[in-house]
């Protein structure tokens, strides 16, 4: 392939797993770490080193709040979206447990939400795991029908990390508010990619991550609504930082990095989304002509950067190995060490073969048109090669219905 010579390989198409920090972000961060910079502990009240750091933290808080149209006072720093999810769900469940012990979430949530809910089940909470529709979206009526008198919390993610679908959090929020139920949204995959207007959304708690939008790893935030006021029980105890909701020395450089990433996102989001959408559509146009290729997740309500495709009769892991010139994943990175097929694809009703055959392409700020074209060619070639190797493809070509075969499971 000729173009390969001009391009840097491997091509990074896994922006949903993590993103490189923007160079503007990295610069800001470096400036507040060493002795010549603002390295102080923002909790130090007695000297200028502490005050300066505190100022930087506040400025970053404003940037984060501005992107999502919230009040800076509603932002609590955490070590990342996993901690935000843990804090929001356990924090609200524990605080409001006298009102009831029923929680509703969805089977396609991130593990940070699902595992937290399981932990609460062990503590005596009752959790309903909703099935999404085949397009990955939640049917409002279904949600309504599982709500009970003792329901205290609903946790639904904004954008799914694997299949990229966007849930209607405005409608879900309205429903929750009308029932007096706390609504938590995991927005790790949506901030900076989808408009979020918290002043006009009935959302009580929202989780954010920096490293999904060109900020550093190890920092995130939880939005905790002030009007009406939502209460959470702290999960990490200590010096009472973050108004008691999350103790621990504030990692100033990380916070500054997140602030800068959110500031850039607010400024450049519209333009960037348009660019990414063009590339995403180009990729799908290039792939959809292949035989037995399936798009996962509703394409209308879909974040621009994500394309999740199942290549039937080809096993996902071997395909990823074959595609070593591009960095993609089969399902979420947090579960890719395991051999299970994607639980998200299983939850939207994809059969095992298709769930095992999926690849998530995620496009971002630095993706180019050449990279997409190269990817299309590479995928076509490698899928063809692996299908030549596949007994299932052979059977399909011979007209055998795979569902009629008695498999010797092992």
């Amino acid at each position: 392939m000729e173009i390969a010579k001009k391009m840097k390989l491997p091509i990074y198409l896994d922006y949903s797993a993590t993103t490189p920090a923007d160079s503007r972000v990295a610069e800001k961060m470096a400036a507040c770490m060493t002795i010549d910079g603002d390295f102080g502990n923002p909790a130090s009240r007695s000297h200028v080193f502490g005050w300066k750091s505190d100022e930087l933290v506040n400025e970053a808080r404003k940037h984060v709040a501005a992107l999502i149209n919230a009040d800076p006072k509603e932002i609590v720093w955490t070590s990342g979206a996993t901690e935000s999810d843990n804090l929001a769900i356990k924090g609200a469940a524990h605080f409001y447990q006298r009102k009831g012990k029923h929680i509703i979430t969805c089977k396609t949530e991130h593990k940070a939400v699902l595992d937290t809910c399981r932990q609460l089940e062990r503590e005596g909470f009752d959790v309903t795991y909703l099935d999404p529709e085949e397009n990955g979206l939640i049917e409002l009526a279904k949600l309504k029908s599982v709500m009970r008198k003792d329901t205290v919390l609903v946790s639904i993610m904004h954008v799914n990390n694997e299949i990229g679908v966007i849930q209607d959090i405005a409608a879900i929020g309205k429903l929750c508010r009308s029932r007096g139920v706390i609504f938590h949204v995991d927005a790790a995959q949506s901030a900076g990619k989808v408009e979020i207007d918290l002043a006009n959304l009935d959302v009580d708690l929202m989780s954010f991550s920096a490293h999904k939008i060109y900020g550093p790893k190890g920092i995130g935030a939880l939005y905790v609504q002030r009007k009406p006021r939502v209460r959470i029980e702290a999960q990490m105890h200590g010096g009472g930082h973050e108004r008691g909701m999350r103790s621990g020395t504030l990692a100033v450089h990380q916070i500054v990095g997140m602030g800068e990433a959110f500031r850039i996102a607010k400024e450049e989001m519209a333009e960037e989304n348009a660019h990414i959408l063009v590339l995403r559509n180009r990729l799908w146009e290039g792939l959809k002509g292949m035989e037995e290729v399936y798009l996962n997740g509703d394409i209308e309500h879909h974040v621009a950067g994500n394309l999740n495709v199942s290549f039937n009769f080809v096993e996902g892991e071997s395909l990823i190995m074959a595609l070593k010139d591009i960095a993609v994943s089969s399902g979420s990175a947090c579960t890719s060490a395991s051999l299970e097929p994607s639980y998200v694809l299983r939850a939207i009703g994809r059969n095992d073969e298709l769930a095992h055959s999926s690849i998530r392409f995620s496009i971002g700020r630095f993706t180019t048109e050449e990279e997409i074209d190269y990817t299309i060619q590479l995928v076509k070639n490698k899928v063809a090669k692996l299908r030549d190797l596949s007994p299932l493809w052979e059977m399909y070509q011979d007209g055998i219905d795979l569902n009629s075969v008695q498999w010797a499971a092992h």
Binding site: F313, E315, E317, H410
Partner: protein, 131 residues
Amino acid sequence: MAYSEKLMDHYENPRNVGSLDKKDASVGTGMVGAPACGDVMKLQIKVGDDGVIEDARFKTYGCGSAIASSSLLTEWVKGKTLEEASEIKNSQIADELALPPVKVHCSVLAEDAIKAAIDDFKSKQSAESAA
């Protein structure tokens, strides 16, 4: 997870890919695994009158380790008697390819596949001699 060079070689240049006529009396076919588990292995052997495996072919749906395991196995069984071939252990395959612990099941599947192919060949032979 880093894979061994041998594994990558078998994965990138799989040996003996293809199919033999499974209706042929001298061909034994073993198909093991299930799509639900993420791997299906089809292994075929062609056995000469002297009981020696003359040819072997495979097709595998599965991860790179499963493909490499079946490719390696087809190389190993060629020229072996049925008895010798049935004595190949999954641990030998795992050692040769330096399979990581989570991939050892791929070598188990390969061992199952050759056993199934031998059984299929033998049952065909006994059916024929009974006829």
